[in-house]
């Protein structure tokens, strides 16, 4: 269970002070697909970054299964980002020099030393093959990101996010840069992962229609949670291995 309590975050630029989050509290249960919506500048992405330890809050607590993660040493936060959270960004954020396959394997490259990689490479490759097949890109594994379409790049990014079997998938406007058809494809993929594999997903979007398909919608405004609604939580037995 991922919990945020009283999170505040302020950005300062010269003399301007912008309070982006002003005491945000909410909880994401295991296996839940939550979407965060709100107007531009409402703090959706900032909240997602804080949850995923990509940034640190000015105050407040973020905990995972009751353990604080916001104040962990950098080394431990690096490990959490590598193994516990998976990220999907609006602009895909793939490494341009690497093939789609190597991009998917990148979390494994990061978590393993040269020797460690050599010993475990077969398992990792098997896992990457499964994922690339799952996202329907087996025929594009050797292609560089510049040779892929937007939808394919996002599917590659999703496969990369899932490589380490993360507890939580954090998606920041994953369809924001795609047309409606491709966007629906990606949303379908996320739903599929959530339903069949039990991956907990927190998705930031400003597309209310898409948000409506998720388990719960959290609306932010003025740096606060102003509304939470959605169908009743459908509990799952456990977050199954993806």
């Amino acid at each position: 269970m991922l919990t945020a309590e009283n999170l505040t975050k302020t950005y300062r630029r010269n003399v301007d002070v912008v309070k982006v989050l002003n005491g945000v509290s909410f909880t994401v249960r295991d296996g839940e697909f939550v979407s965060i919506v709100g107007a531009s500048g409402s703090g959706k992405s900032t909240l997602l970054h804080l949850l995923g330890t990509l940034d640190s809050p000015d105050s407040g607590v973020i905990s995972l299964d009751g353990k604080r993660v916001d104040n962990l040493p950098k080394r431990d936060q690096d490990m959490i980002r590598n193994r516990t959270f998976g990220y999907v960004f609006q602009f895909y954020h793939l490494l341009p020099e690497l093939s789609a396959y190597d991009n998917i394997l990148m979390p494994a490259y990061i978590s393993n030393s040269l020797l460690g990689w050599w010993k475990t490479r077969k398992e990792w490759r098997k896992r990457a093959d499964e994922l690339i097949e799952r996202v329907g890109l087996s025929h594009r594994k050797k292609h560089k990101p510049r040779e892929l379409s937007g939808g394919e790049m996002q599917r590659t990014a999703i496969a990369r996010a899932l490589l380490q079997r993360p507890r939580v998938l954090l998606a920041d406007e994953p369809t924001g840069n795609l047309d409606a058809e491709k966007g629906n494809e990606i949303l379908g993929l996320l739903h599929d992962l959530n339903r069949t594999d039990g991956v907990t997903i927190v998705m930031v979007t400003h597309n209310l229609e898409m948000a409506g398909t998720t388990d719960r919608v959290v609306r932010l405004s003025g740096g606060r949670v102003v509304e939470e609604k959605g169908p009743a939580f459908r509990p799952r037995l456990m977050p199954a291995a993806v």
């Binding site: 950098k74 690096d78 990220y87 020099e97 990148m106 990061i110 460690g116």
Partner: protein, 493 residues
Amino acid sequence: MYKFLLCLKYLRTRYLAFVCIVSIMLGVATLIVVNSVMSGFSNKLKDRLKGVLADVIVETDNFAGFQMHPDLLADKIQHSPAGKYVDTVAPTVEVVGTVQFSFRGMNIVKPIKLTGVDPAKQVKVGGFGQYLERQKNVAVPSFDLSPEALAQHEKNVQLEALMTEPMPQPVRDEPDFLGKGPDLKADGIPLPPVPMPELPAIVPPKPIGIVVGHSLAHFRYKHPETGQMVEEATLRIGDTVMIATLAANEMRPVWGTYVVVDYFKSEMSEYDSQFIYMNLPDIQRLRHMDERVTHLQVKLKDDCPKGYTFVKGNVANEIQKLFGRYEGRAATWEDHQGPLLSAIDIERAILNLLLFMIVGVAGFSILAIFTMIVSEKIRDIGILKSLGASNRGVMGIFVWYAFLLGVVGCTAGTIAGLGITNNINEIEAFINTLTGQQLFDRSVYYFDRIPTNVEPATVLLVNTGAMLVAVFSSFLPAYRAARLRPIQALRFE
């Protein structure tokens, strides 16, 4: 793992890095070539110096020489603690003087360093034998006139006699103003010559041979038409010279006439243009110094148990103890030529320092290019950090990248440097053909080829230095990259 993967990918895809590689390559190649040539020159010079000098030289400032007989001095050295390392002790007399000779009607006088040697011993202590032109590597060189020298000498004597024969007098047919004559009788018949008393035949003294430095006996000039350096002998084998120096015990000049029997060519201009060698007894006789000598040349055994350099210094110190402070000075040949050898070392050090600036420039180009690459790669750094890459890991990417550039640059530079060094004479000949200018004037150095000597330790040192510069230059941009917060990097556009 990702560090190596990304380094290799960047190396293959970032063509800007090629500039870094070329900079390092040029620096390394230049340093290797210059050091090899300098080392070649230095070694050649040392070989030549070593060739004309013994391992340890004992000399006295007394113009009359050591008080003791040279055999006693040698015995003293052989029976000292240093004696077990000593192979041969050769006595010599070394004084300054002048040489005078005629060339094309000109009377030429030159300053010389006159050295009296015992040829049998001298060949054992240094390269005296190998530098003689006519008697090269002869077991015991001789100062006796060779048939060639003797023939030329006799020809010279005859020519001289011809030139000094009294001028024929005209026959007087009437008394001159002094009242002498007439040389004719009244009937015009010449008077019979006045009979001269019979004198015993004068046996000409046996000519004494000397060996003259090659440059002293030759002069070089550029041919006005061909532009080539031409060498002409001013002193031929068999020519006679007059040598003047000072007597041993009193300040008065002594001189003698000698015949050139051989040339000495060590390719050291200082020696070849000034040195004249003669037999030890001849110089002792010339200077009235009995059997005394001014120098002792000490040759050490080749199989010194504790290492030649160590033993040589110690032997010099031990020998010094045998002589009083003012009686004699013992020094190694390096000490003797200290200023020259130091000058070479200093020259080499300064050249290295200056040329290492090329590597320094390569370092700055790495710094500049890496700063650009880091700016360009900020988003990628953000991606890596969002995937769990640590600060150290991100820093490692750029440091390893610089290391890899260094390895490639150093490898290419070493190959290029060694290639140029090995073919430097061919390259020089090619440039000569292209430009028509001779880069390496053989007449200046007496070398037929540009000498080179590749020292593995120097090559290693140059490579290590270049690698360190490459890696250190990447630290600042790498640190900047590592310090970026993930979200700051991801938001960078």
